[in-house]
């Protein structure tokens, strides 16, 4: 009942005020989506955890082994316990979280880039280019993702050496995992973008842009793409969640990020043998994955509702 009242107020407000831009409407809708706000809250908490935590614990703390305190339960020194080599789980979840989130975000950047490029080119140019690209997309789409992940992860493992970035050294396997996850998850996006382009490129504003002599490049990226941002944002948000889960899968199958770098996924994998004897080893990284993915899914759900074009036309 309360919800009905809220939505009524919402509409009354809207009637009194001047028309809103689509972005404002989206934001209002998003604001009213309770779960999305919970999601945002969760994500902020996680971000604080992995960033503020890094000021308390150094990366060396996360990787320092101590054979005298292996597998010790949570204590004052190590609030979340230690793992099989005596490393502090709390410090590892902080730095592991950074890597997991980094992998999630970067993999999505890879998949969005590839997906948007292929979808846009395919949808805009049509014809043979479209046919070839879409056959390829379809081919990749038809192979179950986990199967592709396994093939690619095995193909690329150990091919990239350790590198330094911002004073931290990263295992090359981080790049491999990002690439592998990114390159196996762009197909869905490519299809959405292509469908969007197919319908948008026939509209007047595109014809107008063409008439005033805009180049194809500028039409694609300055005129059409901004109009298909909504589905891309939703897909990308949910993509982060599945990339984080995929990282855990790849780690579980033994093809993940190499030691000593922690990720939530490989922490879970290392806890595999300690399921009932040392529950703190899996509980915390598992909960962090769960909460992060949950938060992202909530936000994605909220975004989907907020950016729904049908909903937009109704309010306009």
């Amino acid at each position: 009942m309360t919800t009905t009242e809220v939505s009524w107020e919402f509409f009354e407000e809207e009637i009194e005020r001047p028309p809103l831009t689509p972005a404002q409407v989206a934001w209002r809708r998003f604001r009213c989506h309770k779960m999305a706000l919970v999601g945002v809250g969760l994500l902020i908490a996680i971000f604080l955890y992995v960033i503020v935590g890094a000021f308390i614990y150094s990366e060396a703390d996360a990787n320092r082994t101590d054979l005298s305190i292996t597998l010790s339960p949570p204590s004052r020194d190590h609030p979340l316990g230690t793992d099989g080599t005596g490393r502090c789980i709390l410090a590892r979840t902080i730095y592991g979280g950074q890597i997991s989130v980094l992998i999630g975000l970067s993999a999505v950047i890879v998949s969005v880039t590839v997906g948007v490029l292929i979808g846009a080119i395919s949808g805009y140019y049509g014809g043979h280019i479209d046919a070839i690209l879409m056959r390829f997309t379809e081919a990749m789409f038809n192979i179950p993702q986990l199967f592709l992940l396994i093939l690619l992860a095995k193909l690329l493992s150990g091919k990239i050496p350790t590198f330094k970035l911002l004073g931290r050294s990263f295992s090359g396997s981080v790049i491999v995992i990002i690439g592998v996850i990114g390159l196996t998850s762009w197909m869905y996006l490519a299809r959405i973008v292509r469908a969007n382009f197919l319908s948008l490129k026939e509209q007047e504003f595109v014809t107008a842009a063409r008439c005033i002599g805009s180049r194809n490049f500028s039409i694609i990226f300055e005129h059409i793409l901004p109009n298909s941002v909504a589905p891309i944002v939703v897909a990308a948000t949910l993509g982060v969640a599945s990339a984080i889960i995929n990282e855990a899968y790849v780690s579980f199958l033994g093809l993940g990020v190499q030691p000593p770098t922690a990720t939530w996924g490989n922490m879970l994998d290392q806890a595999y043998h300690h399921l009932d004897s040392e529950p703190w080893m899996w509980f915390f990284p598992g909960m962090l994955i769960l909460l992060t993915v949950l938060g992202i899914n909530f936000v994605g759900d909220g975004l989907r509702d907020a950016l729904d074009p049908r909903a937009l036309t109704q309010t306009e």
């Binding site: 056959r135 192979i143 179950p144 993702q145 199967f147 093939l151 889960i245 579980f252 949950l294």
Partner: protein, 343 residues
């Protein structure tokens, strides 16, 4: 319609060829099949040379692909390694239904896959049924009693289920319902295999052994699908014809079953068809953990051993299945929804 089907089927041929080339190159580059031959010991030098030649791995990759595709019974093959071709090859190639022999098991790939397919299908079809029933029930309930406590509970659970790595779920289920239940003296589920050998392969045994793996796979999918059904249902019950149905005095049950459900469930058909690959992926991990002798596990062990013929066999068959499933879903859809026409 027939022309549409024929055209779609013809389109799948180049598609499958592209898929197979991509996969063949990937599979061949990803590891060394001979490395696993040695088992716990490293393979010896001259055996490696001999086996590389006998398995045809010494040839350029495209030649290997050609042989995989069309066979080598029309060309002479060097058997003893003196560089002079001796006899005609024996392989017929995939196009003539010969998927080659497994490097590891040394027997025809199709034979190996045939043994596994039925096991995976038993598991997957049960999962599909469970998923459909539960996601429809939960989805409809959540839609009709929107914002009720149970709706929130279902929503929360479905998001949690959706956000968990499947292997984690599998392990937790296994430890609660098998290991801990036994410790607590409760009836416990079996952890591994398809049936108890002492009892034999009976329906009851398979069903009993299937509970945990089916639960693992289903929980994740039910989470996603029930959300979908819920939103579909919400959309449908706000439509005019439903209001009309209520208005003319039909009882709620009739309205829901007769009008709303049918329309809300339709899109689920497509989704279920499209999600076949997802289920198969879930099977890789689930089958490995629960020691279920299906295709997913076969794939994972073949990937570990770089058993290229088996890998290719599974991938090509699955790709073909996926393509065909898509066509079937599209066609089913036209029957279910008369507004859609293909021409």
């Amino acid at each position: 319609m027939t022309r549409y089907i024929i055209r779609r089927l013809l389109q799948t041929i180049p598609l499958l060829l592209i898929i197979s080339v991509i996969l063949f190159v990937l599979a061949n580059k990803m590891g060394d099949p001979l490395a696993s031959f040695g088992g716990r010991r490293r393979i010896r030098s001259d055996d490696r040379e001999r086996l590389t030649r006998k398995l045809g791995l010494d040839k350029p990759i495209l030649v290997q692909y050609a042989i995989w595709l069309v066979g080598n019974d029309w060309m002479r093959v060097d058997i003893d390694g003196d560089g002079i071709p001796d006899e005609y090859g024996t392989r017929k190639g995939v196009l003539r239904g010969d998927f080659g022999k497994s490097f590891m098991e040394k027997r025809p790939v199709l034979e190996i896959i045939r043994e596994r397919v039925s096991n995976t299908l038993i598991l997957m079809l049960t999962c599909e049924v469970v998923i459909l029933i539960f996601s429809l029930l939960i989805g409809i309930y959540s839609a009709l009693r929107q914002y009720s406590t149970l709706d929130y509970v279902f929503t929360a659970f479905s998001f949690i289920g959706y956000s968990m790595p499947i292997f984690w779920l599998a392990l937790i289920l296994m430890y609660i319902f098998a290991v801990n239940f036994k410790q607590w003296g409760l009836p416990y589920f079996p952890t591994i295999g398809m049936y108890d050998l002492a009892v034999g392969r009976t329906v009851g045994q398979i069903a009993w052994h299937m509970v945990l793996p089916v639960a693992t796979i289903s929980i994740m999918s039910v989470a996603g699908y029930s959300r979908y059904v819920r939103s579909q249902m919400l959309e449908v019950i706000s439509q005019d014809y439903i209001r009309t149905a209520y208005a003319k005095g039909l009882p709620e049950r009739m309205v829901i079953m007769g009008h709303a459900l049918k329309n809300a469930a339709l899109p689920l058909v497509t989704i279920v068809g499209m999600d076949l690959p997802l289920l198969l992926s879930g099977a890789v991990v689930t089958e490995s953990i629960f020691a279920w002798p299906g295709m997913g596990r076969l794939f994972w062990s073949a990937a570990q051993d770089t058993d290229i013929p088996v890998l290719m066999g599974i991938l090509v068959i699955i790709s073909a299945l996926v393509v065909i499933f898509q066509i079937i879903t599209d066609i089913t859809y036209t029957f279910l929804d008369p507004r859609i026409r293909y021409n």
